[in-house]
């Protein structure tokens, strides 16, 4: 108790409070901008911390790192654009709610879940300190493999109305994830000789393409975020908070997933949020209480990932504090700050730096509360965005999506892939292939391969008899059997979609891709080819099943819709070209002015003011705060 009081007194010093607030505010800004994440913010702050005392430095760093996953909900819910890769799962139900005029409710629930999840993660961290070393070492690679298998079975629950399409979407995600150098042999897989792809397809670009582009296309088609013309539900914010409190068990359950998996290096926030989302979806939806299905605006689909991704921060501190081993790039940067301030991580911190340790835990908790309160305060204004004309909103959002996809590698292929995955996202959505299932396949397949090879090299096959492995494989099997039973029971109830030529064309296109991928595996070493080969083989079976299930097409399908999608993809394509040709400031400016001219709205002067403000933000972040070496524009100088 003395240490707690001492820590509170230390934290209450004005400079330290100011650093905490500054960190939180910066974290909230970083979270809102699509494509950039906590590491970006930490690299801004690290140089500042050299001149600070340790408590102030960690207040600043942890204050920022704790809340990026709070504010990333804002674009995820409102415009379907994940603010960080950790908010992609929130898009699925959160944005659906915004379309239904429930933006404030979704945001209220999300912030409350983030706050409680974040504080829960800090509490778990505090409770774990005395036993942190054994706790961090609890799971080995065999256990992680089994947990990943369990995670993949959640695909079955995210597959939507057609489970074969859902499973195939997951296979596609897995195939995309296997692009790059394989982890065992280091040989190139499907890189087309491009060094750009050695590290795989950039995760942020995939998620921005898969979710942001189709949702923005939807907003533009509707004319505004909301589907209905009803005014946003009064009291939605409070209702969302009440929803979150009502689902406190889910918050703690998802928070546990976040905190526990957060402590495992190599798992990452992307995996955590999707596992939490899938875990929530395992429970039966309370349809009787009027809650829609998952993917259609279920509040639990917002609460679960938001709780998990905020609780993760507490967990990810554990390996750093326990062993001085950073669990993530953010933690590696934090460890650098430890060294600068002469702090030696490890159990001895409890004796030698107990006050600092407690202030760090308090910082995580207070930052989560502060971040959520600030976001809640902003919500009534933010929710009004739901009724802003799409012709203003969509081009501006696309600029941030484009810059977010481009800034990390600053390679023209970032923008090309954004368009490619945007198109894929549009087609998947149009034809009823589950994008969450694709996402789950994409984030889990690499871990499945890596954890398998590590387990096998370390202990042969004996890991298969480990208790945790058996438990999770049993749960996975149960989940599959339950899903099979549920599909069999629901066969008669579901209205079978009439097969269309578009469906068949896309299925055949997928078949062609899978076949080409399969043939190319023949030239690879066995170890590099085995997991992709399993995915290819399994995908072929499901493709044949899908063709058999749907039969010969009886109609063309929604050709007009598809043409509209293809038309929309020209817009981000044009933005990409503008950025490459004119640079990251002039390109978006020209794009925004042309968009206003093309859509006839907003008026030129208004469009100009909006564009200049947006680009001022871009300039402030990417040229002033963290200057980037932007590539020379194609048309530069004239």
């Amino acid at each position: 108790m003395d240490v707690l009081i001492a820590a509170l007194i230390e934290m209450a010093e004005p400079l330290r409070l100011a650093m905490l607030i500054l960190g939180v505010l910066l974290g909230l800004v970083v979270g809102v901008i699509p494509g950039i994440g906590g590491i970006f913010g930490l690299t801004i702050l690290i140089p500042i911390t050299y001149g600070l005392d340790p408590i102030s430095a960690f207040a600043l760093l942890l204050g920022m790192a704790s809340v990026t996953t709070t504010s990333d909900t804002i674009p995820a819910v409102l415009i379907g654009v994940p603010g960080t890769v950790g908010a992609a799962a929130t898009v699925v139900d959160g944005h659906e709610m915004a379309k239904n005029g429930e933006a404030a409710r979704a945001l209220g629930a999300a912030y409350t879940a983030s706050m409680i999840g974040g504080v829960f993660g800090a509490v778990m961290l505090a409770l774990s300190i005395p036993v942190m070393r054994p706790l961090v070492l609890l799971l080995n690679y065999g256990d992680l493999f089994a947990i990943t298998v369990f995670g993949l079975t959640l695909v079955a629950l995210l597959s939507g109305s057609n489970w074969i399409k859902g499973l195939l979407a997951a296979h596609l995600g897995a195939l995309v994830a296997y692009v790059g150098l394989d982890p065992y042999e280091g040989v190139e897989r499907w890189t087309f000789g491009q060094v750009y792809l050695w590290d795989g397809v950039p995760v942020a670009v995939v998620f921005l393409g898969l979710f942001a582009i189709p949702e923005l296309a939807g907003v533009l088609a509707r004319g505004q975020i909301q589907t209905t013309m009803l005014a946003p539900e009064p009291g939605g914010l409070l209702r969302g908070i009440r929803d979150a409190l009502r689902h406190w068990r889910l918050i703690l359950r998802s928070g546990s997933i976040g905190a526990f998996l957060g402590a495992v290096p190599g798992v990452g926030v992307v995996v955590i949020e999707w596992v939490a989302y899938g875990d929530a979806a395992r429970a039966k939806t309370d349809a009787a209480k009027g809650e829609p299905a998952y993917g259609k605006g279920n509040i639990r689909g917002v609460i679960a990932p938001e709780s998990a991704n905020n609780a993760k921060e507490g967990g990810s501190l554990l390996p750093t504090l326990a062993f001085g081993i950073p669990g993530s790039a953010s933690m590696a940067i934090l460890l650098g700050a430890f060294a600068v301030h002469g702090v030696v991580p490890g159990p001895k911190m409890l004796e030698e730096n107990a006050t600092l340790l407690v202030t760090m835990i308090l910082t995580v908790a207070v930052a989560n509360v502060l971040g959520a309160v600030i976001c809640l305060g902003l919500t009534p204004w933010l929710a009004r965005l739901a009724r802003v004309p799409a012709t203003s909103l969509v081009p501006l959002a696309l600029v941030f999506v484009g810059i977010g996809a481009f800034y990390a590698a600053k390679d023209w292929r970032d923008l090309l892939l954004l368009v490619v995955f945007g198109l894929l996202g549009l087609v998947l959505r149009r034809l009823g292939w589950s994008r969450p299932a694709f996402a789950l396949g994409f984030v889990l397949a690499p871990n499945l391969e890596r954890f398998f090879f590590l387990s096998w090299q370390i202990s042969g096959w004996s890991w298969l008899t480990q208790p945790v492995v058996l438990i999770f494989l049993a749960i996975a099997a149960t989940t599959i059997l339950r899903s099979l039973g549920s599909w069999r029971r629901g066969r008669g109830e579901r209205t079978k979609d009439a097969p269309t030529r578009l469906d068949l064309s896309f299925t055949l296109a997928v078949l062609a891709v899978v076949l080409v991928a399969g043939v190319s595996l023949l030239r690879m070493p066995e170890a590099a080819a085995i997991f992709p080969a399993i995915v290819v083989g399994s995908a072929l079976v499901f493709i044949l099943l899908l063709i058999w299930q749907t039969g010969l097409p009886q109609a063309v399908g929604d050709r007009q819709g598809l043409v509209a999608d293809l038309g929309f993809i020209l817009i981000p394509g044009g933005l990409g070209l503008a950025i490459l040709a004119l640079g990251h400031l002039a390109g978006p400016l020209v794009f925004l002015m042309l968009a206003a001219w093309r859509f006839g709205s907003p008026r030129p002067l208004v469009a100009l003011v909006q564009a200049v403000l947006a680009l001022a933000v871009v300039y402030a972040i990417f040229d002033f705060l963290v200057p980037q070496s932007w590539p020379q524009p194609w048309l530069w100088p004239f």
Binding site: P183, A339, W630
Partner: protein, 323 residues
């Protein structure tokens, strides 16, 4: 229309202003590691020693143990030397250990300086009961590695071959953090290729036995361990192992593109030399926990020339040892 033209002109100007007098250091690894740390301290200081005192931007281009960045540097046709790359020293050995790999040629890029010449070490958790390097060689220990091109693989592979050691190498870890945790868990019994700076972090020295020093010249860091090369008596094997270990002499190197003009290379080398001798830089490095061991660009050229001039039979043996 005038307003639009003005705005476009302003945004061009803003972009131009942002890029003027700016050079960049690209790091072949993710943020947070030692390469990132060293690059950022160089980024904070080197501008003051260059004409025009440019601002320096540090960016990460991780991939394939920095070979991705190495390949990008090779393809860069710029002559102004405004982009420095921080790459793995092991890339300098590609012509020796992986001659079919044409992604990187150490004789074409220009080495500017190396910030460290520290030894690496083989370690084992104390819980394994392995206390000496000799015991380690017969222990059947599993040793963790990231990729097969990384020093976490090449060092133990070469040691295994040179001594006929009974050790196994487990590959596929994402980074040293995962290897260290696997050692703590007991999944692995060793790691070869850990730096003295990393050993000094946290309480590692109290939890690990430092078994052997990987270097061609014994260091004076005080870590204390068997000098691995001294354990070999066969001169050919010893020379081959020394060749594999020789990259420890040029740790944390910085390079510029092959097309960079000789004048610019000379200016950059002089600036690094001056920076390395600057007390303010040395003090800052000490504050950030960085152990400096500077080698000039000419010094690196000499080390690489020496490596490449090695007897072909020795090179062939070294190549076989790291397979």
């Amino acid at each position: 229309m005038k307003a639009i033209s003005l705005a476009v002109a302003l945004s061009f100007t803003a972009g131009l202003a942002a890029q003027a007098d700016t050079m960049s250091i690209k790091v072949g690894y993710a943020p947070g590691g030692s390469f990132d740390l060293v690059s950022r301290i160089v980024g904070d200081h080197i501008g003051a020693f260059l004409t025009g005192t440019p601002d320096v931007i540090v960016e990460n281009v991780p991939g394939a143990g920095s070979l991705k960045l190495g390949k990008l540097v090779m393809a860069d046709t710029a002559t102004d030397g405004m982009v420095l790359a921080s790459i793995s020293p092991a890339l300098a050995q590609i012509p020796i250990l992986d001659p079919e790999n044409t992604d990187f040629d150490p004789l074409k890029v220009h080495y500017i300086a190396a910030m460290s010449s520290e030894s690496s070490y083989c370690v084992t958790p104390k819980s394994t009961g392995i206390e000496t390097f000799d015991a380690f060689l017969q222990s059947g220990a599993k040793v963790g590695a990231t990729g097969k091109s990384s020093s976490t693989y090449t060092y133990p592979a070469a040691i295994k071959a040179a001594f006929g050691a009974n050790i196994e190498i487990v590959t596929g870890f994402e980074g040293s953090a995962e290897i260290d945790l696997a050692m703590e868990r007991g999944d692995l019994q060793g790691r070869c290729g850990i730096s003295a700076a990393d050993l000094m972090e946290s309480d590692m020295l109290s939890r690990y036995n430092v078994l052997g020093e990987i270097a061609v010249v014994r260091s004076e860091t005080g870590v204390g361990a068997d000098f691995i090369l001294d354990k070999l008596s066969d001169p050919t094997t010893k020379a081959a192992l020394a060749l594999v270990f020789s990259v420890t002499r040029i740790h944390h190197p910085f390079v510029v593109a092959p097309a960079t003009s000789p004048e610019r290379v000379a200016e950059l080398r002089a600036a690094f030399d001056a920076m390395a001798a600057d007390p303010a830089f040395q003090e800052d490095a000490k504050t950030r926990g960085i152990q400096l061991g500077y080698t000039s660009g000419a010094g690196i050229d000499a080390v690489i020339a020496e490596m490449l001039a090695t007897d072909p039979a020795i090179k062939e043996l070294a190549r076989q040892m790291v397979q």
